[in-house]
């Protein structure tokens, strides 16, 4: 802003930068390079926008219900969305029971949205979470209240993605906080164990942990004892996320001035009292925006469970175009779930920005 004003003041009388024409001139045509860029961008937009509108809204036959109809009309295959959205959203869950994963997703989303609002930040929220998670479990598994039992191998689609992400962050968070505290402890053995864990996990790709959970975890367990595939993937996600959360929280802890601890010491608080009442509340407040980013990464990373054959949103999107009639429509299917992922991740990142602004109000002049 200041930059623009400065240079325009230096080079031209002020009249030229006023008004709509002046805005155009200073914004878009201030220098030959700038004008060239403008022309280039406008050209790209003129080429791309009509083509996109044509591809998504003009060409396609909105009434078509088959792949053949899509092929005939060209453009985006809305018939795929119409015919396969239940498979993509809920996976292999029994067709007639799909209201259950739908309701479970709504409950999960509702509790997440409530947790995002400051007016609900009170102890009762914890209780609400317990109730919500139990309800989700009951709805998904069934077997009680007259609901038929559905084994978790048949779960899939969006609810599975949401469950993996929510449980992932929920369990990884306390674990990560403990690791962060351990890494800053002055007991050398505790510190060493935490550092080794964090660096080891952060140094390897998530895929290798997922492979480890799928091929090595069965070897680790005593004979005759097995954990199912979904739980194994969930464990890998938790172990992975905890290491990242630990580093985020460590950053927050480092930002707390020493005087806070000394003050707490002088009150005679024990270590855990100091952490719980003085240090962690401040450190976590500082780390909230970064924690939200970690949550976004986790949400995106849940898509990797495809690789060990778990039927999440991504795998469901791939399965939707597997049968021969729908072959060649992968891109359409991917665009559909890309929009879903985008909506979730983008709203989280906006939320994190708003939160950051709000929490920093005290620092602003």
């Amino acid at each position: 802003m200041t930059q623009a004003q400065l240079s325009s003041v230096g080079r031209a009388p002020p009249g030229r930068s006023a008004g709509a024409l002046g805005w155009l001139r200073s914004q878009l045509f201030s220098s030959p390079l700038n004008a060239l860029l403008t022309v280039l961008v406008v050209w790209v937009l003129l080429m791309a926008l009509p083509a996109l509108v044509d591809y998504f809204f003009i060409k396609p036959d909105f009434a078509a219900t088959t792949a053949a109809g899509c092929r005939e009309a060209g453009g985006y295959c809305w018939a795929l969305v119409r015919e396969k959205h239940r498979l993509i959203l809920f996976g292999l869950y029994p067709y007639d029971e799909q209201w259950r994963p739908l309701l479970a997703s709504v409950i999960l989303l509702g509790i997440i949205v409530c947790s995002a609002m400051r007016r609900f930040w009170r102890p009762a929220l914890g209780l609400a979470w317990v109730v919500a998670l139990v309800a989700v479990g009951v709805l998904m598994w069934g077997g009680v209240f007259g609901l038929s039992y559905v084994e978790d191998a048949r779960w899939g689609g969006l609810p599975l993605t949401l469950i993996l992400a929510t449980f992932g962050i929920g369990i990884a968070f306390p674990f990560g906080v403990l690791l962060a505290l351990g890494r800053r402890s002055n007991m050398p053995a505790v510190r060493a164990v935490c550092i080794i864990y964090i660096e080891l996990i952060r140094g390897v790709p998530l895929i290798s942990l997922l492979f480890m959970s799928s091929v090595m975890l069965p070897l680790f367990l005593p004979e005759g004892f097995s954990i199912d595939k979904l739980l194994r993937a969930q464990i890998a996600l938790i172990l992975f996320t905890a290491a990242y959360i630990a580093e985020v929280v460590r950053g927050g802890l480092q930002a707390i001035p020493r005087g806070q601890v000394e003050g707490a010491d002088s009150l005679g608080l024990s270590y855990w009292q100091q952490m719980r009442l003085v240090v962690l509340p401040q450190a976590l407040r500082i780390s909230i925006p970064t924690l939200v980013s970690t949550f976004i990464s986790l949400f995106k990373d849940t898509s990797l469970v495809v690789i060990i054959g778990i039927f999440d949103l991504m795998q469901a999107a791939r399965a939707a175009v597997l049968d021969s009639a729908w072959q060649g429509f992968s891109i359409d299917s991917y665009i559909f779930i890309a929009v879903i992922y985008f909506v979730f991740c983008f709203s989280m990142s906006r939320y994190s920005l708003a939160l950051e602004r709000r929490l920093n109000q005290g620092q602003q002049r």
């Binding site: 200041t2 930059q3 400065l6 240079s7 230096g10 200073s26 914004q27 878009l28 201030s30 860029l37 403008t38 961008v41 406008v42 937009l45 505290l181 800053r184 402890s185 002055n186 007991m187 053995a189 505790v190 164990v193 140094g203 390897v204 790709p205 998530l206 895929i207 290798s208 492979f211 480890m212 091929v215 090595m216 070897l219 680790f220 367990l221 004979e223 480092q254 707390i256 601890v261 024990s270 270590y271 952490m275 240090v279 976004i296 995106k300 990797l304 495809v306 690789i307 991504m314 791939r318 060649g328 992968s330 891109i331 991917y334 665009i335 890309a338 992922y341 985008f342 991740c345 990142s349």
Partner: protein, 400 residues
């Protein structure tokens, strides 16, 4: 160092005094806690190892890395070194590692260039440019990389025409559902040209060192960029001339259902590189943007006041200072790119994870396989961060 701030300080309370073995003594408590933790971790490891050995014995799997010498028996789509199914598992792992490294290096260079341009574009005064860069960044960052890889792969294999109807934007360049085919050079001139290129790079490094020394000593500047470009073009050309212009251009030709000759970028490699580069570039753009914004506004104003154009301010004043802020977060983006290249396994590019996974399925050597993958990534990650730390130290502001 900073790690000692927060925990209770046993030193303050009585490390010097005679030790009283009581629960109220922080030193004693610390020792008990640590012994307890180590015991717990040790027990856990022992328990897992014990179960694992028993399970392996029950399944008749021998442990150890001897299987690496066995014949692999599977083929690998692309490899930088010679490889055939009769080679050993060890060589297959090496092929996978080289593929990972190659994709990582190409990806890091391309993502840095694209990301820097996007980051500068995000801050452009031109609101069309900055808006478009902003949209790109948001879209890329909020869609899982794996989905983007699948998207690129489907784009090549499903939307591109078959080899017979290949799309040819330039003569002898073909884009089809078999990937990208480019003309390539054959013959001994290539070695001479590569030698010339290496010589030119060395000369450029020396020249830049010399020109900086001269500028520091005398204030006279030297047109480094044109000189380097000239060297980079001239020396390979000289190599080509010395070798007696002895090379032929190997042009891809359609034979039957596929192309023969030329250089191929397979759909797998294309999808992996396109996905990694466009995805990581969005993150690098944000790193560059925040780096530029971290430079004090006074620097812009001072540089503008001596009459530098905006482009020159950016080049001579802002970007050099940005480098200092940017190196640590840039390092983590590079590390992320290397780790994300492991997603190659999903689209069938033979990187180290894909190759090791195949071996693991063939031999049942799960533990060794995972250990190889993890060790490879740990070594690569550590090397990158060591190098970047060294570079960071060199670039960091030297104060009194």
């Amino acid at each position: 160092m900073a790690g000692q701030d927060l925990a209770p300080s046993p030193r303050a309370t009585g490390a010097r005094r005679a030790r009283r073995w009581s629960w109220n003594d922080p030193t004693t408590r610390a020792i008990i806690y640590q012994v307890g933790l180590l015991l717990l971790v040790g027990l856990l490891i022992w328990y897992l190892a014990h179960n694992t050995l028993r399970n392996l014995a029950a399944r008749n799997i021998t442990t150890g890395f001897d299987f690496l010498q066995q014949r692999a028996g599977f083929s690998i789509g692309e490899s930088a070194i010679e490889y055939s199914p009769t080679d050993s598992y060890g060589r297959a792992v090496l092929v996978g590692l080289l593929n990972t490294l190659m994709v990582s290096v190409v990806g890091i260079v391309a993502a840095t260039v694209l990301g820097t341009l996007l980051g500068i574009g995000r801050l452009a005064r031109n609101s069309l440019v900055s808006g478009l860069c902003g949209i790109y960044i948001e879209v890329m960052r909020n869609i899982p990389l794996l989905l983007q890889l699948y998207f690129w792969y489907a784009l090549v294999t499903e939307v591109m025409p078959s080899a017979r109807k290949a799309f040819s934007p330039l003569p002898s360049v073909f884009i089809s559902n078999r990937g990208l085919r480019l003309p390539w050079l054959q013959g001994n001139a290539i070695e001479w040209m590569l030698g010339g290129l290496a010589l030119a790079i060395a000369a450029c490094l020396l020249l830049s060192h010399w020109s900086r020394r001269r500028q520091e000593a005398s204030g006279r500047s030297f047109a480094l960029l044109p000189a380097c470009v000239a060297l980079l073009l001239a020396l390979p050309a000289l190599g080509w001339w010395i070798s007696g212009a002895g090379f032929v251009v190997d042009r891809p030709v359609l034979k039957g259902f596929n192309f023969q000759g030329g250089f191929t970028v397979t759909p797998e490699m294309f999808a992996l590189l396109a996905g990694l580069v466009t995805y990581t570039a969005a993150y690098i753009a944000e790193v560059v943007r925040s780096g530029i914004q971290a430079v004090n506004k006074g620097q812009w104003e001072a540089a503008a006041s001596i009459g530098l154009s905006r482009a020159r301010v950016l080049r001579f004043v802002i970007l050099p200072q940005t480098m200092r802020v940017v190196i640590p977060p840039m390092t983590s983006q590079y590390l992320n790119l290397v780790k994300n290249s492991s997603l190659a396994v999903a689209i069938g590019y033979p990187d180290i994870v894909a190759v090791t996974n195949t071996i693991l399925n063939q031999t049942g050597q799960a533990i060794e396989g995972i250990a190889i993958i993890m060790a490879a990534y740990l070594v690569v990650s550590l090397s990158i961060s060591l190098f970047m730390n060294w570079y960071n130290k060199r670039m960091a502001l030297v104060e009194r």
